[in-house]
Amino acid sequence: MPKIIVEVMPKADLLDPAGKAVANALQRKGHSEITNVRIGKRIELHYAEAPTPKQIEEAKEIAANFLSNGVIEDVVSVSVEEL
């Protein structure tokens, strides 16, 4: 099924409580080599047919205006996956 994958991450300068909790757990397990963990979102948009260039542009707009909030998050990537 053709998909568009949108990846969203909390902004680098913002506290990421979920990432911090996981990083602390890894430290406790002895993984001192891991210095930080940040957790974002992967959102899949599924299509019946391979998305057209127009649909890909629309997906980018959806990613920027609905799937993310520019004040607190960055859209890291919008990519097409055809399988």
Binding site: L14, L15, P17, F66, L67, N69, V71, I72, E73
Partner: protein, 231 residues
């Protein structure tokens, strides 16, 4: 005077908001997220809760609901709109107020009677307060940390768009102690604490005079009645 209270899936405080409207002397009109019609209301309240399970981001999905299309247009035209807690988050996600709300700095859900300073009384929802007045109303949220870009904060401070600031304690790490905002016209106000839980003696925050006697929240609802009489 008819004041609409919107219910989204996952809204919790719609009944309390309706009750506050009635105690202020107005008619409460239940509005439904999927119904674009505002049923001739004179003002709208977006109440607290966890609309759409806080999925995606708090308030993000509710901001796309059919009723919000009408509310955004009406708010831009001057209709008084009050967003409480999740309602504030919805107003921010709907771009009716700037900035964003993130998880509390200390990462805990917080529930307390919160002191606020009234920073602006030229709005539909705050005109029955006096400037600089200290009020106490309940606060209960997990994602109430207000953030905004530096230039947005400068504009908010410079233009007098901050409606409320936290007093004594900043409960969630909000920038500049911001508890609530107003828009330029003054018809839209959003805040994290809950005025609708401090409207009736016996059920409000404690005061120096008696337990649970605090009714500081009632002024929000009488303010909008006063605003509409003047308008």
């Amino acid at each position: 005077m008819r004041i609409g209270v919107v219910t989204f899936p996952g809204t919790l405080d719609d009944r309390d908001a309706q009750r506050a409207v009635r105690l202020a002397g107005a008619t409460a009109v239940p509005l439904w997220h999927a119904d674009k019609d505002l049923h001739d209301v004179d003002a709208v309240i977006l109440p607290g809760g966890f609309s759409f399970g806080d999925y995606l981001r708090c308030g993000a999905i509710a901001a796309q609901a059919p009723v919000m299309e009408t509310i955004i247009d009406a708010a831009n035209g001057g209709l008084p709109v009050l967003g409480i807690c999740n309602g504030f988050q919805i107003l921010v996600e709907a771009n009716l107020l700037p900035g964003g709300l993130i998880r509390n700095e200390h990462q805990h859900f917080i529930c307390r009677d919160q002191k606020l300073i009234v920073e602006n009384v030229d709005t539909a929802w705050t005109n029955q307060f006096t400037l600089g007045q200290e009020i106490t109303i309940p606060l209960k949220n997990g994602e109430g940390g207000y953030i905004a870009k530096d230039e947005t904060l400068k504009e908010l401070e410079g233009e007098g768009l901050i409606a409320f600031r936290y007093s004594e304690v900043n409960p969630n790490g909000s920038f500049n102690n911001i508890a609530g905002l107003r828009n330029v016209k003054g018809n839209v106000v959003g805040l994290m604490p809950h005025p609708e839980h401090a409207v009736e003696p016996g059920f409000g925050p404690d005061t120096d005079k008696a337990m649970r006697s605090g009714v500081d929240g009632l002024n929000f609802f009488t303010s909008v009645l006063n605003w509409m009489v003047k308008a």
